[in-house]
């Protein structure tokens, strides 16, 4: 492979990893606060359709992206009301949210099938974007790709260094203790859930405006579920999440490239199992290897909190 070919492959990997990264990063923060929202797929697809509808109505990609985030957050708000205020079961509510989101998005999107939308503008730095290999790789993306990387840095800093981040982690590790020293557990969790929804919405917006700039029903095609797995895969750490998203995107893309290059004699079905095999393998290594005990799941994950007044 030439340099050019390598950079083309890497470009594809980056675009495959970005929606996963957005959605998984949002979910990571949600889970760190002790809430398990299985509705990522639903929030993503509602974000995708909202972004597409607004971008095609106004002609503005940035408004579309904003609409995607708002729509994802709106769906997350429903989840919040049900699980945080009304203390409903988080697993069941999350699953319902996914199914609801898929249905709602088809309803909203019915009028947008078969309409193209101009893709998000790519960053183009004169002179630099045209450099071989490095140019398109580092300077040839749309703003969302850079935003996803910035978001990883921001979330990592927030969780580790900021006071609000520490409160959020405390709420996720021991809601009762946090409550008894005077933190508003429900309010913290609401913010986390809304953030998670907005991030899933951004992931969806990336899908419908940049990855494949079109609206098609069910276009998230299970990426929300992969994002959920990635959070565990990364053992709730933002930097590992970044690596995981790119690894996952990379394995998916690599199998398509090896297929078209002749397949190396491996059946296509085996190739498409690879990303999932990799997930299982890494999970097993983390859980059973010398790093045992560092799996690091928030202690209150999935448990409803009822303040005893």
């Amino acid at each position: 492979m030439t340099f050019d070919a390598v950079s083309l492959v890497l470009l594809t990997v980056i675009s495959a990893a970005t929606p996963l990264l957005f959605a998984a990063l949002g979910e990571l923060v949600v889970e760190k606060s002790g809430v398990l929202n299985l509705g990522v797929e639903g929030m993503m697809i509602v974000g995708a359709v909202a972004a597409f509808a607004v971008a095609s109505g106004t002609g503005s990609g940035s408004l579309g992206v904003a609409a995607g985030a708002v729509a994802g957050a709106a769906l997350a708000f429903i989840f919040g009301v049900l699980t945080l205020t009304l203390a409903a079961n988080q697993v069941a509510t999350g699953l319902a949210l996914t199914i609801f989101g898929l249905g709602l998005s088809s309803l909203i999107g019915a009028g947008y099938v078969g309409i193209p939308v101009p893709p998000l503008a790519k960053l183009a730095v004169p002179g630099i974007s045209d450099l071989p290999l490095v140019g398109p790789l580092l300077f040839g993306h749309d703003a969302l790709v850079y935003l996803s990387i910035v978001a990883v840095i921001a979330v990592a800093w927030f969780l580790k260094k900021s006071r609000a981040g520490m409160i959020l982690r405390a709420v996720g590790e021991s809601d009762i203790s946090a409550h008894s020293i005077g933190y508003d557990v429900i309010a913290v969790r609401y913010r986390a859930v809304l953030f998670g929804g907005a991030m899933a919405g951004l992931g969806g917006a990336f899908l419908s405006l940049s990855y494949t700039p079109l609206w098609a029903e069910g276009m998230t095609a299970g990426r929300g579920w992969i994002a959920l797995a990635l959070v565990v895969f990364a053992s709730w750490r933002p930097w590992r999440l970044l690596a995981g998203a790119y690894l996952f995107g990379g394995v998916t893309i690599a199998q398509l490239y090896t297929q078209s290059a002749g397949g190396l004699g491996i059946p296509a079905q085996v190739m498409s199992m690879l990303p999932y095999l990799a997930t299982i393998l890494v999970l097993t290594i983390i859980a059973a290897g010398p790093w045992k005990g560092r799996l690091n799941a928030p202690a209150c994950l999935g448990k409803p909190f009822r303040p005893s007044t």
Partner: protein
């Protein structure tokens, strides 16, 4: 058959009691609309395969108005789940049920056995029964047309094919495409990428990128979303729509599309049920009957290329050209079909080997 059945019930009623007679009479008059059910593998908004079937369903509604009532269930997974959906449709009073994907075959056969007075129509399968018909379109005829265009337009001689699952239908399409292309460009080859899904826009787009990166300058697909068209369009690569006219996604590069036209067949079958003349059948129709059509050719295609494509289409309609006419070599280069012979329909429907020029 439907009418006979009602009449039998009518007669049985008349011998029993006057009240039953009146009831039976009302059924026989058909005051209730005929309920027609559809099982779709994808969403109606896929702009491809399922979209095409749903247009057929709408054609029924338009033709028969309130004499029929149609229902559809979309996004039904191929496999055991489908059986539940089909049975549900049958037991809720649908008298004619269309199951529109190959993978619904065994489930349809099973439910058809349990509901002998419900009529079933299964698309692209090969198992029939007294109350189960199969119908299919000769998409390979369309593939021969686009293969001809591809052969004329390619510079690199490499084509990219985004494929779903290695079933005969898909294998046949790949073969028809490359056979037609190699008539124009004898050294042409085709690279196949299996995405193992009928519908995953993101993955289809990635596969398209992979193929273009490896030198393919024509992209065609046997998956249902317009994502490959859009990706090919954005890279300036020639492509062909699948099941619907997808020009809007690549106005300059979308050469043409193979269109599935199910409406006339659906209308005909519903009419047969209403008239009581429905019988099990096994049809495989193409350009000639109008079940397969080509979308308008792109204005960017040179006139002589359009002419060559049209002559293939017209030859197929006239019966002077069969896309699977020998000599045909298999992948290893050995002759499989001798010169002058064509592959019979039965063998095509079970096709499990690739012709020369395919790397899959």
């Amino acid at each position: 058959m439907f009418k006979d059945l009602s009449r039998r019930r009518f007669l049985a009623g008349s011998t029993a009691a006057a009240g039953a007679l009146a009831l039976g009479g009302r059924t026989a008059l058909g005051a209730d609309p005929l309920k027609v059910g559809f099982v779709y593998v994808g969403p109606v908004g896929d702009f491809g395969w399922t979209h095409g079937h749903d247009l057929g369903r709408k054609a029924i509604e338009k033709e028969f108005g309130d004499k029929v009532k149609t229902t559809f269930v979309e996004n039904v997974a191929e496999g055991p789940d489908a059986e539940r959906v089909i049975r549900q449709l049958a037991s809720s009073g649908n008298k004619l049920i269309f199951t529109t994907s190959f993978g619904f075959m065994n489930q349809t056969v099973k439910v058809a056995k349990q509901f002998p007075d419900v009529m079933f129509e299964h698309a692209t399968g090969f198992k029939t029964a007294k109350n189960l018909s199969v119908y299919n379109a000769r998409f390979y005829e369309g593939r021969a047309v686009i293969g001809t265009i591809a052969g004329h337009m390619t510079k690199t001689g490499k084509f990219g094919y985004i494929a779903s699952f290695p079933i005969p239908e898909v294998v046949m399409g790949i073969n028809a495409f490359i056979l037609a292309a190699r008539k124009v460009r004898p050294d042409a080859e085709i690279k196949v990428v299996w995405v193992n899904s009928w519908y995953d826009p993101g993955k289809e787009a990635d596969a398209t990128k992979a193929l273009i990166d490896q030198g393919c300058d024509v992209i065609t697909q046997h998956t249902d979303s317009p994502a490959p068209i859009q990706t090919a369009g954005s890279r300036g690569v020639l492509c062909f729509g699948q099941a619907s006219d997808m020009t809007t996604f690549a106005p300059e590069q979308h050469a043409t599309a193979i269109l599935d036209v199910w409406g006339p067949y659906y209308v005909e079958r519903v009419k047969a049920v209403l008239d009581g003349t429905w019988q099990t059948s096994n049809v495989w129709q193409g350009f000639k009957e109008g079940m397969v059509e080509m979308a308008p050719y792109n204005k960017n295609l040179p006139g002589e290329v359009v002419e060559a494509a049209e002559s293939v289409r017209k030859g197929i309609i006239a019966g002077t050209l069969h896309p699977f006419t020998g000599p045909i070599n298999d992948q290893s280069g050995a002759e499989k079909i001798p010169a002058g012979q064509t592959i019979p329909d039965g063998d095509l429907l079970g096709m499990d080997w690739y012709v020369e020029g395919v790397s899959a």
